[in-house]
């Protein structure tokens, strides 16, 4: 509790915590908040710009918020299709409209627009899918990959480092050489190779799970090395010797007495490594090797930004990048604050 209070005293960490809480709330309630479903697509409306919402009508009076639909027109002078607002009919924004196909628990959306209207808060992508809704659904993948990978990295790293450091000698040498070899392979190269040899035709859930496993397989080695270093210094402490004399098994000593001593390091390392997994997943999906269409992730949504015309004329397609940035920044700030609080060495430094 004391730790939490100290974190809350830090201005940056407090705002980071609030931002993260908000992001997770948004993606948790994606079905409710997103005006369109995960599978919605309007082929007529590919690359429509964000809908403008008006609160002051043409006579200059305050009005209930409304929007106009876009219509596509071919502009011969520019030799391209442009989107123009159809000013003939206003569509008013509605709160808590009934959902057409119920995917979430609540049979209503947070907001929507009158029947016949279209409301694209952040425009649409090449398939005419609502970018705003897809960001919420994509966040579910991008923001959980990090944590789920940690569930693989940390048990492996703790156990590996614990065994290696505790037994020492030839076991330690062999295990550490192997870990160093894994670290010596440029991690991103290994990542794309592992992702590329995944067989085709997997379901999206299987692919998601395998990507988590791959990310986990890459991160454990560095972590195991640090744990080993800590175990080396802990294993000579009196309480470990005492445990040995009363005949506790090696595994019991490692799991029950040595590894718990590393808790504060583990917590720090966990918060500080979540961002790297978020970045790795988005990089992988950006290249087309991660989460596949039609599923959304922030990385694969940015894949469209690889085209020049898109980044110049359709800047709304870049919003997932901004969200990755915000999420990673928040995790970093939070991690820094947790480290300052938990790590006595850096606490001294701060004073």
């Amino acid at each position: 509790m004391d730790v939490l209070r100290k974190i809350f005293q830090d201005k940056f960490a407090k705002s980071a915590l609030i931002v993260l809480a908000l992001l997770y709330l948004l993606i948790l309630c994606a079905d409710f908040i997103a005006p369109y479903s995960n599978t919605y697509s309007n082929r007529e409306m590919s690359y429509a710009p964000p809908s403008k919402i008006y609160t002051i009508d043409e006579r200059g009076k305050l009005s209930w918020p409304y929007t106009y639909n876009y219509v596509r027109e071919y502009e011969p002078a520019l030799m391209q299709t442009v989107f123009k607002q159809d000013r003939s009919k206003k569509y008013y924004i509605k709160f808590f409209p009934k959902a057409e196909n119920i995917t979430g628990l609540i049979p209503r959306h947070l907001f929507g627009v009158e029947k016949g209207g279209e409301l694209y808060l952040l425009g649409t992508d090449i398939n005419g899918r609502d970018v705003f809704s897809r960001i919420l659904f994509g966040g579910r993948i991008s923001m959980t990959v990090g944590f789920l990978s940690l569930l693989i990295v940390f048990p492996i790293g703790l156990l590996y480092g614990g065994i290696s450091g505790y037994f020492g000698g030839i076991i330690d040498t062999l295990m550490m050489r192997f870990a160093e070899a894994v670290m010596a392979i440029p991690s991103f190269y290994l990542l794309i190779i592992l992702a590329a040899i995944l067989p085709n035709g997997m379901s999206s859930v299987q692919r998601f799970a395998l990507i988590i496993v791959i990310l986990g397989l890459i991160g454990w080695a560095g972590f195991a090395r640090v744990v080993r270093g800590m175990v080396l210094s802990i294993k000579n402490e009196d309480f470990v010797q005492a445990e040995k004399t009363i005949g506790a098994s090696n595994m019991r000593i490692i799991l029950k007495h040595i590894l718990p001593q590393t808790t504060s390091y583990v917590i720090i390392a966990m918060t500080l490594s979540v961002p790297s997994y978020i970045l790795a997943e988005s990089g992988l999906s950006f290249l087309g090797l991660g989460i596949q269409q039609p599923d959304a992730s922030w990385g694969n949504m940015l894949k469209e930004a690889q085209e020049f015309t898109n980044i110049l004329y359709r800047p709304w397609l870049l919003t997932p990048g901004v969200l990755i940035f915000i999420a990673v920044l928040s995790f970093n700030l939070l991690g820094d604050a947790i480290r300052d609080v938990l790590d006595p060495k850096s606490q001294k430094r701060v004073k």
């Binding site: 070899a181 991103f188 970093n332």
Partner: protein
């Protein structure tokens, strides 16, 4: 003598490391369901003779451990096989590795030239608004995804027209004079360097700040101050030397990070480097090329760590005594 012995010992340690790495990468790739010659067979311009040669070089009809040995033997000899397009893998690598080295070297040099002074500055001015500002900037630099930043830079290049969009050389590169060539390459390097520089600078600056703070807190610095030395002398003569040592170890890791970060940046900027090569190879399931570039990337990384260790040996007298 001492120094040579240490260096030789470190170089020898690399050999088992390379063997394990080659085993890991070989089995990952070979145990995947991809037929290593499938793409070659599909390419009509590849002769049956070449195919037979590859078959023999890789011993594909033998059990997998024999395959590993024959692959390793030909790798040591420098025979890396053919790409799916029918080019020699070794020629392709020779073309790409210098480009990646050029990019990473420039970035490492610039990061050190900027990161160390900035780190010192924010450590000395600890808890001031300048330090806070630098911390905020470095947090931003650490959080921005490299490929996203690269895209933003591309928009900038297209909108202003100040920098060429992607690649390493202009189309008329071969007709240029020597100095024009250098100018052309530098112009192409600006944007990728900015992206990688920003990202690696943040980490380096923070590390330097932390090291410096730790050293400034130590007894010998307090003593130097008590002796009445000027602040400049205390920092540059006493504190800096000890704060930089841990950074040298970091140099190796930085190199690793850059190789990974460079892959995405190279991809966005269409920069002809090793990272993009391996990406393209992976997408085309060009097994020979993937294996060779993976090994090359690893060798570069290990070499980077080795150089860092040797540098540390030179700067840190304590290590010399120990070995």
């Amino acid at each position: 003598m001492e120094f040579l012995k240490y260096t030789a010992k470190r170089v020898l340690q690399v050999i088992p490391l390379l063997i394990i790495v080659s085993l890991i990468s070989f089995f990952i790739i070979r145990l995947s369901p991809i037929d290593p010659l499938a793409e070659l067979r599909l390419n009509p311009s590849i002769s049956q003779e070449t195919l037979d040669k590859e078959m023999k070089r890789l011993n594909l009809d033998k059990p997998i451990y024999i395959q590993y040995f024959s692959w390793a033997k030909s790798f040591i000899k420098g025979d890396l096989g053919y790409t799916t397009a029918g080019e020699k893998v070794s020629t392709k690598l020779k073309e790409r590795i210098p480009n990646t080295l050029l990019l990473t070297m420039v970035v490492i040099f610039m990061t050190w030239a900027a990161g160390v002074p900035i780190g010192i500055l924010s450590a000395v001015k600890k808890e001031t608004s300048l330090d806070r500002l630098l911390t905020v900037i470095s947090s931003i630099g650490m959080a921005i995804p490299s490929f996203f930043f690269a895209i933003l830079m591309l928009i900038f290049a297209v909108k202003t027209g100040w920098f060429p969009v992607g690649g390493l050389t202009s189309y008329n590169f071969n007709e240029m004079g020597f100095f024009e060539k250098i100018a052309d390459i530098s112009k192409h390097l600006v944007l990728p360097v900015i992206v990688l520089f920003t990202i690696s600078l943040s980490g380096l600056q923070r590390q330097m700040r932390a090291n410096m703070l730790e050293v400034l807190d130590s007894d010998y610095v307090k003593f130097a101050r008590a002796k009445g030395l000027s602040e400049g002398k205390v920092i540059f003569k006493h504190a800096l030397r000890n704060a930089v040592n841990p950074m040298i170890t970091l140099l190796g890791f930085e190199f690793a990070g850059l190789l990974s970060g460079a892959a995405l940046t190279e991809y966005v900027f269409q920069y002809p480097g090793l990272g993009r090569l391996i990406l393209e190879a992976v997408m085309k399931s060009d097994i020979n090329l993937v294996m060779a570039s993976l090994m090359m990337g690893t060798i570069m990384l290990i070499a980077g760590n080795l150089i860092a260790d040797i540098l540390l040996m030179i700067t840190d007298p304590r290590l010399r005594g120990r070995s």
